[in-house]
Amino acid sequence: MPTEPTVFVVDDQEQARKSVCALVRSMGVRGEAFSSGEEFLRRYVRDEPGCLVTDVRMLGMSGLELQQKLAAEMVRLPVIVMTAYPATRVVVRAMAAGAITLLEKPYEEEELWDAIRRALAKDAAQRAGLERQREVQLRASQLTPEERRVMNMIVSGMPNKTIAKRLDVSLRTVENRRREVFAKMGVDSVAGLVRLVIEGGLDEARI
């Protein structure tokens, strides 16, 4: 899997997709062309870094359908939508589905460059977030079920006494478990623990 990001260009018009790829490459970014949404979905490997640039009106799957399909499969590849005739309805749908932007053909080169930069930055940020999440989850996996329960209660803001009463254990036991949680998770404050739980998506996992 290449670590260098790729701009995936989907357009059923051959000259359109090839010329966009040429422009992208001239900007120093890898470009790859696809003649349809279906072709892209067959070829794309999950987690490949980059962004998607797609036309709206195409034979077969439309650009908006492709965008929806990716969202449904939890593929977080940022999407730039292009169209020659931007109808209000199309703009609203594309943006509501989380598109970086919608470019009207023919666009200014700077607009495309700006959109691609933002898309790749978002992709990188998402990727970094994902990395952090994996790391936090790895640390959390070292906790025993009892320690995990105590961590959840600390994060919801309960004092040790309340936790002891709730779990029907001694205050000392709670204090021991609390020390273990802080050590295994690599934090030294409740605030640090809360941030970690959110970054790792652990609060979601609890619900």
């Binding site: 018009q13 966009v20 040429a22 422009l23 001239s26 120093g28 209000t88 053909k105």
Partner: protein, 501 residues
Amino acid sequence: MDSPVRILHLEDDPADAELVRATLEGAGIACQTTRVETGGEFRQALAEGGYDTILADYRLPAYDGVSALQLTRELRPDVPFIFVSGAMGEDAAIEALTGGATDYVLKHKLSLVVPAVKRALREAENARERKRAEANIALRNFALDNVQESAFLIGEDARLYYVNEGACRTLGYTREELLGMRVADIAPDFPAERWARHWNELKSRRSLTFEGRHRTKDGRVLPVEISDNYFEYDGRGHAMALVRDITERKRAEEKLQQMELQLAHVARLSTMGEMVAGIAHELNQPLYAILNYAKAARNFLAAKGADELEPLCEWSEEIADTARWAADVVKRLRSFARRTDSERSRCRINHIVRESLGLVDFAARRAHVVLEAQLCPESPVVWADRVELQQVLVNLLQNALEAMQDTMPEKRRVTVQTAVAGGAIEFSVADHGVGLPAGDHQSLFDPFVTTKPGGLGMGLAISKTILEAHGGRLWAVPNPAGGATFHGTLPLVDEIQTDAD
């Protein structure tokens, strides 16, 4: 004579009466005689009627011939009255004849009763004949006065010598005024020399129907249809002109013609618009690619940074700018050709169908096609551009009319239906025409596909585009009984409103 002559004989002497009867029978005139003696009997017999002739003595014991004559003229003026008398002076005879008697015969020259009766019967028959003829003429005059058309009898000199009531009513003149006029006085297009040419043509062709103008007494000019007929009577030529006021018809024709022109104009504009839009789209794509390539080339050249590549870098930029310029022109052209402000509103589909039927009504009547509407009772509402939907329907209706040019007249019928099905409105236009070409019905809707000589092949393509832009569909199926049905759908208004903004 076949049946006996029925005679009422006022005579006190039965022998005389018998003698008269015998004389007539002797001459081959079968008689059926009723003899009366008194005034009372005579009056009663007259009142009962049924007599062909009356014979009367001049002097009677209980009555008199002159009174009988007076009574007869009063009650039965058509029945011949002949005096048959023994003694009748010249003065009395003259008085009798001036009083209305048909004839008189003296008893001593009784044989003369035969020619007298014969002549009387003949004259009575003639009188009846004349009366029937007069009644006939009166009826014909009455009929001519009660027709809607104006009727004129015209001589070779262009004088009007008969006009009917319709002519007076339409032109506003009295009969007397018209009878003093010539053709040119009421028909401004027919001065004397034109009339002379017309007369000659009419004389050789016998009958001519044409449109013209008549001027009324108050100066209005009416469009008229004239049926002129020539005949000869009594060795002279006559023209009988029957004239119909066609003001209403002309007005309706003009209005419909205007509507047709408008319709053709709209259709032509939108066809042009679609074509321009299509061409613009086709041009936009390559221009867009040229623009991208030029920019890419410029970027690569700039990255090399070599001085000798500087002009290439600049020219690539120029190519890009020029392509953008062309793309902008095309884009403006497109938005100009296609009304970008598609004026959508809530419309009742049944109203639009009825309006569209109105627009093709004239064309349908001219093609002898019956238009039939079977509209759903719900009066459903769609969110649509009224003019565009009209264009779709008119296009389908016109196709249906044109498809039935070779259909037998009694089968020339177009049925338009609307119905609500699911969340959509379905409408259809069915004809009994030539039907669909064999094979793929879908290609009918492609641009520049036509089955009509001289057709542009844009009608169905545009109709399909319009319906799809409204979130609907258009398709065609062949009818089992021949011809084709075109089906269209449109979403109901609530569905489409959530989709818009």
